[in-house]
Symmetry: C2
Subunit: 225 residues, 2 copies
Amino acid sequence: MTKKAVILLSGGLDSATVLALAKSEEYEIYAISFSYGQRHNVELDKAREIAKSANVTEHKIVEIDLRAFGGSALTDDIAVPKSDNVDDINDEIPVTYVPARNLIFLSYALGYAETLQSQNIFIGVNALDYSGYPDCRPDFIKSFEQTANFATAAGIGDKKFTIHTPLMEKTKAEIIKLGLELGVDYSKTLSCYDPIDGDKPCGHCDSCLLRNKGFSENRMTDPSI
Amino acid sequence: MTKKAVILLSGGLDSATVLALAKSEEYEIYAISFSYGQRHNVELDKAREIAKSANVTEHKIVEIDLRAFGGSALTDDIAVPKSDNVDDINDEIPVTYVPARNLIFLSYALGYAETLQSQNIFIGVNALDYSGYPDCRPDFIKSFEQTANFATAAGIGDKKFTIHTPLMEKTKAEIIKLGLELGVDYSKTLSCYDPIDGDKPCGHCDSCLLRNKGFSENRMTDPSI
């Protein structure tokens, strides 16, 4: 019997790698992406392309409006912080943090998984080379997994949900190395929080800085540029 | 300083009572309702009316599409179960269960609360006279509260969130008694899962049966009929 997996697919480097990994483990892939009023909405085109190349069984794009609450540089008219130096990324939570975003995304993924009778949800969070968001840490994921099993008809039975986070303890360089081994075409991914002319990476937001560091540690240039 | 509270307001009997209770405890009220493709969409008109009468500071109605996943009699073309006898409601999870619904609702409420710098979320779940939904039980709420504090920038600091469930251990009759003491106008509320002609309670779904039992135990008839 095929194992079904729901994969949170953003169109960025991490989730593209997770998708390839789940495929290599012979899961049947159901991808889910969100149109949430993000200024880097072009990532959804990338998500569509990645899902199509990977020949996923289904790709749902759910419209949700996180702008209703505001309070983030990713959804509001607040400047995305820029720098020339990856070491400027510190432990503080940046203004690109979107309140409760990953919790909302995972909650939808859970409803989707339950409907599909799938017990497996994959998310490309990592807690090493990241921006310091609280909802990317192992404690959050572990707690969500418990909540998911209390929240659902499936979870209170014997069909427990697992939230898979295969990238959690990897550096960006290690993620890229893994993805290249799995044949991920990173030219199709976009990680930038604030793309120029719609789809060119700015090169200076946290996400660009971490991505560039990852490729340069693999002694290569970013194929998406 | 005023305490702010986010209240999940459905337009039904329970959440109207919770709103009145939070007001009596001098919270400043921010109500949130969801248009999620429910067949009893008229409850949103009720929610608007209740919010207006209570003079809330803000009432957000968030559009989300739970029909995208399907699998529930509340959102799909599946018949809502009917009966003449409240004792027919058993421990099984009914087809009116919507996968991950309360988790998704609470996750939005959390994002809203964090943006408002509020630490208080009120939800009118109860685990006595209810339909047996997993996401109404104390274990779920307790686990969600922990997850909320891991998920957010506010929660990992010293501004911990509390999920208030003042109705959890009350029977429907006790809830109605409390609401009447607080001056709730139950003629403005609608609990039915499958209203006739848009806004008349069917009288036979689980929600109608429990509501009718609550009023009759208070020796009165439902003022909304």
